[in-house]
């Protein structure tokens, strides 16, 4: 048995190709980015050693700070929206739903399987005002709220919210299914016992359900966080970062620097910032996972 399982040739064959591919195309580029970040310009084009200058420039770069702000606003709204609505929906399903459990679960999961670009295009038409009213504006004008009709994606103050709502819509079903699964795992007699002891609805949630669901809440928050830090595809598909830079995220700003302005070194620094936010943020959220609630 052990002889078969320590067959060196087989191990090399099983692990080798994947190991090489992963090293060359994932790990090497990550380290390479660190090296790039110390240079200014673009390889072959004013490529000069800059030391830590790129890092220092970040602090005075207005566009970077703006993108950072947009990205953080987006992260906080979308994470709270996705996880919060997901949890709320799961609770409704658990306590209010008697029949059609599978049907409801299947329906709310639908948006999750849609390609991001398709969702972006769809919502662009929902928010549209020119040349025809889109879905939202035509509804508003129908129910007499003509004064609310506006170019949702064309104004700084509404564009980011429109984007957040789209991304919450896409994923809240996903989180509700996760939480619903966790809720169904909680044995009924635990809830029954609490009810017999006279716990009200809110107490039941606060004292029994929330502690039991807490690890899942943390996991979901980390997942939602690491997805939103990357903020790229949905924003590109819906608004292309506009109007102005109202929905331009760090990833998009990095992309512009690398492929439009040819500032590869500087773009690498921004990529590293994104990586750090991802790692540090996830670690901070995980700290809230108190074992003895």
């Amino acid at each position: 048995m052990n002889k078969v399982l320590s067959n060196k040739k087989a191990i090399a064959l099983f692990v080798g190709p994947a190991f090489i591919l992963y090293t060359v195309l994932v790990m090497v580029p990550v380290l390479w980015s660190l090296y790039y970040s110390l240079y200014s310009g673009s390889p072959g084009l004013k490529w000069e050693f800059a030391g830590l200058k790129n890092y220092i420039n970040l602090f005075t770069d207005k566009n970077f700070l703006k993108a950072l702000g947009v990205n953080f606003k987006y992260i906080s709204v979308v994470v709270i929206g996705q996880v919060g609505f997901g949890l709320l929906m799961a609770l409704m399903f658990k306590f209010w739903l008697r029949r059609c459990k599978t049907v409801v679960r299947t329906l709310v999961f639908f948006p999750v399987v849609l390609p991001t670009v398709a969702v972006g295009q769809l919502f662009a038409k929902i928010y549209e005002i020119q040349p025809n009213y889109g879905l939202l504006n035509s509804f508003l004008s129908k129910i007499g709220l003509q004064n609310l009709v506006q170019p949702w994606l064309g104004q700084e103050k509404t564009a980011l919210w429109a984007l957040c709502i789209m991304d919450i819509w896409v994923a809240m079903g996903f989180y509700s299914v996760i939480f619903y699964g966790a809720l169904l795992d909680i044995p009924d007699d635990v809830l029954e016992a609490a009810r017999v002891d006279g716990a009200s609805g809110f107490q039941l949630f606060r004292r029994i359900l929330l502690p039991l669901l807490w690890p899942m809440v943390i996991t979901s928050t980390v997942f939602s966080f690491s997805g939103t830090v990357k903020m790229f595809e949905s924003a590109l598909a819906l608004t292309k970062g506009g109007p102005g830079a109202a929905t331009k995220s760090l990833s998009m700003y990095m992309y512009d620097n690398a492929f439009t302005y040819y500032k590869v070194g500087y773009a690498s620094v921004i990529a590293i910032v994104i990586f750090l936010i991802c790692v540090v943020g996830s670690a901070v959220i995980n700290r809230f996972d108190v074992k003895d609630y």
């Binding site: 078969v4 399982l5 320590s6 067959n7 087989a10 191990i11 099983f14 994947a18 591919l21 060359v24 195309l25 994932v26 790990m27 580029p29 990550v30 390479w32 980015s33 790039y36 390889p43 929906m89 409704m92 209010w96 409801v104 709310v108 948006p111 399987v113 849609l114 390609p115 991001t116 670009v117 769809l122 662009a124 549209e128 020119q130 040349p131 025809n132 009213y133 879905l135 035509s138 509804f139 129908k142 079903g173 996903f174 299914v177 899942m216 996991t219 997942f223 790229f232 595809e233 598909a237 990833s251 992309y255 690398a258 492929f259 590869v264 773009a267 990529a271 994104i274 991802c278 996830s282």
Partner: protein, 275 residues
Amino acid sequence: MKKVRAGLRGFVIILICVIEIYPLFWMLTASLKQQSEWSEYPAYALNKGFHFQNYADAWTRGNMATFFKNSLITTLVSLVFIVIFSTTVGFAVTKMKWKYRDAVAKYFTFGIMIPVAIALIPLFQIYSKTKLLNTHLCLILTYIAFGLSLSIYLVKGYLRSFPDDIMEAAVIDGCGIYRLMWYVLTPLMKNSIVTVLVLQFFFKWNDLLFSMTFISDSKLKTVQTGLLYFSDEFGSKNWGAIFASVSMSVFPMLILYMILNKAVIEGMTAGAVKG
């Protein structure tokens, strides 16, 4: 009183379902509208007829046929390799006995944390030096490499609880390592393979960042980049064709979801719960 309350609760749940489904339904009806319907009727009106010409336009004039072919090639080829690699590596790092196996397992798991953005620029340089930009190959290689970490992690989680007795019985019967892998383990790992397939199909089919960076030739664009490009070309005028092309890009996922409903939900949530 109780009845009113139950009715209200039912209403809220139905409302949630409508919110999640209606935009999708609207998209499908909109894809069958004629151009004139947009200016004559409000946007929420149902389609007056079935204007399938939109789909024909998107498929031929909008190049959706080409984009579909490209997406299918890159996605399917990379899926095959992701499944092969993740099962063999997953097996080697959980069940086989060798010195560096835990270190290698950690090395692969580390990749789950890495945002794609950080590797993008060096990858572009690598592909431009090796003249692989604007080929299917560079997308396939990237898809495989970035699909490994999570897939291996999922397979590992499954194999860890896998009883050794079956393997032992097979080995006593004279089964070598390759036959053990192929004839004994692979069939038993069907569930985790389906999970990996579903999750990775979704990721690869939806990829935008890599394909828009590495592919500029419009004959090689995938569905997602194609859609963006398409809406820039026709977007503001030809709404019917836009909706038709968006609907088309959604169909593969919808069909997959309708057939494999349970497996899809399990596969996609596995990435969050276990990853």
